[in-house]
């Protein structure tokens, strides 16, 4: 009788054979380089248009606008500090959202498993219904103008709180789905060894649940990062607001808004990279 392990190894070889052989870096990113080169050439032409003798109004205007938008009064620093604010809000809101979401998910799963904590479960359900049923901008303004209306409090904190509370509702549903997707035999196996419900949850169920929902959680993080752009509604000088402030000062919408869009885009692309690295590490235990 052949060892079954050998069969598995040969299957693995077949799988690897179908993976595309890694192309060289420049070849994989050929279109990225072309696009970047076009932008660079365009920027250089604009910057050096007088020296090049290109006396076209299009280039002249773009040059003047660029100087007005970013150089005069060091206005690019508005974008930099706006970026800082956006990042601070996002980090705080994500932390709060994950904490809230995990707690709510466990409360709902406990309820599903018949370990009903009646009052708390009801509260969680109201929270989910109200938060997911109303726009985040409205929640943000309610928290700032109504709840903290008469108290002086940092706007950044209020924004972090509002986005965190909002994100928590979505994270809760994501994690809950992840927990329910873990085979019920896992809980039984843990309990049959004499582990408590809590330890089994923590050591066996949650690690598998998190792995399953990681793409969805990152999706939520990306959404949250971009959603903070509405913090301007309570006059927080975040990245989007900074771009808008430049626009209203220079009356040029094109460059500041594109600059803001580019910064968000780069951040999301960076996050996606991080995400795929983490995912690859977590996938060690299966050869999908």
């Amino acid at each position: 009788m052949t060892e079954p392990a050998e069969k598995h190894e040969s299957i693995e070889e077949v799988v690897f054979a179908y993976e595309p052989s890694p192309e060289p870096f420049w070849k994989r990113h050929i279109y990225d380089f072309i696009i970047a080169a076009v932008f660079l050439v365009f920027a250089l032409i604009t910057a050096f248009s007088p020296q090049l003798g290109l006396d076209m109004p299009f280039f002249t205007k773009l040059r003047t606008n660029f100087i007005n938008d970013f150089i005069v009064e060091n206005r690019f620093m508005w974008l930099v500090s706006g970026l800082g604010t956006t990042l601070i809000i996002t980090v705080m809101a994500t932390t709060l959202g994950l904490t809230l979401g995990l707690t709510l998910a466990i409360i709902k799963v406990l309820d599903y498993n018949g370990k009903r904590i009646f009052f708390v479960t009801r509260l969680a359900e109201y929270y989910l219904t109200v938060i997911r049923g109303t726009p985040v901008v409205v929640q943000l303004m309610i928290i700032y103008y109504v709840i903290f209306g008469s108290i002086s409090v940092s706007k950044i904190l209020v924004a972090a709180l509002a986005f965190g509370i909002n994100s928590g509702a979505y994270v809760a549903e994501i994690i809950r789905a992840g927990i329910l997707a873990v085979d019920r035999g896992q809980m039984e196996a843990g309990r049959s060894l004499g582990l408590t419900y809590g330890v089994t949850m923590q050591k066996i169920i949650l690690p598998q649940a998190f792995k399953n929902v990681l793409p969805a959680l990152f999706n939520e993080l990306i959404t949250l990062l971009k959603e903070t752009a509405v913090a301007g509604y309570i006059a927080v000088a975040d990245l989007a607001r900074a771009g808008d402030m430049i626009r209203s000062r220079t009356f040029d919408p094109l460059l500041p808004l594109f600059a803001v869009a580019a910064v968000y885009l780069v951040m999301v692309m960076g996050l996606t990279q991080v995400m795929s690295k983490i995912e690859r590490r977590l996938r060690r235990s299966d050869n999908r």
Binding site: Q186, A189, R191, S192, L193, S285, N287
Partner: protein, 242 residues
């Protein structure tokens, strides 16, 4: 020793176990057979409260586990269980699967737990798989690891819930061999299975269940050789003739 008194289990309006009385002494190897839907697995799962009985009492070594205030976790630490679908923890390596419970429950420190895990792996003949993830193992190997994982808690009783039903025929032998060795070492075992050969060889008592009742029990020779109940005869004629 396990004593079961008037055990009933209902799923909704469906009555799966009907007033079961049974006694399992230390060192006994009980094999439970019967048609599907007869309540064999539910009976087994009631013994460590994976299924909560609807009525009746179960005593394990003078501890009434069906009592409200019973600390079931400490009782379960003495009762290993092996499942039909293995239920290995896929995010942990083989050795991590085995040490998880003894280490978490502070039965052993990490070094001793790992040493013990390797002893158990030698016993089931899978030392070289220690650092593999379960997905890389065949069904038979998974089940042997599952047995090792249950043994890591040094249980006094082992419950087997159709341990070979999900296996390819060629892998059933390797699992039954491990179980037979365990039986020869004197482990108290309760096994739900369709492997009649195993029942004949290993069982000290065979229980035949049908429609939520134990309709006949005795030594393998009595039950297989000279069944008294009509339902038993019918069942055995169906499974033994092939």
């Amino acid at each position: 020793m396990i004593t079961v008194e008037k055990l009933c289990k209902n799923f909704g309006s469906l009555s799966v176990l009907k007033n079961i009385d049974a006694e399992i002494k230390n060192g006994e190897k009980i094999v439970i057979v019967g048609p599907s839907g007869s309540g064999k697995s539910t009976f087994l799962r009631c013994l460590n409260l994976l299924d909560q009985p609807s009525a009746g009492r179960i005593m394990v070594d003078d501890v009434e586990i069906t009592a409200e205030d019973c600390d079931i976790n400490s009782v379960r630490q003495k009762m290993g269980m092996v499942f039909q679908h293995f239920n290995l923890f896929p995010h942990l390596t083989v050795v991590e699967n085995i040490i998880l419970a003894p280490y978490q429950l502070k039965k052993l420190n990490k070094d001793d737990a790992i040493k013990r895990a390797y002893e158990l792996l030698d016993r089931v003949g899978l030392r070289e798989k220690a650092n593999e993830y379960p997905i890389k193992l065949s069904g038979g190997q998974k089940q042997r690891i599952a047995i090792a994982r249950a043994l890591a808690m040094n249980p006094e009783i082992m419950l087997f819930d159709e341990p070979t039903s999900a296996l390819d025929p060629e892998m059933i032998g390797e699992v039954l061999d491990v179980m037979q060795e365990l039986a020869e070492e004197g482990m108290t075992m309760v096994v739900v299975t369709h492997e009649m050969g195993f029942a004949r060889k290993v069982a000290s008592r065979v229980m035949f269940m049908d429609e939520g009742r134990i309709v006949e029990q005795g030594t393998p020779d009595e039950v297989f050789g000279n069944p008294k109940n009509d339902r038993t005869k019918l069942f055995l004629s169906k499974v033994l003739d092939h």
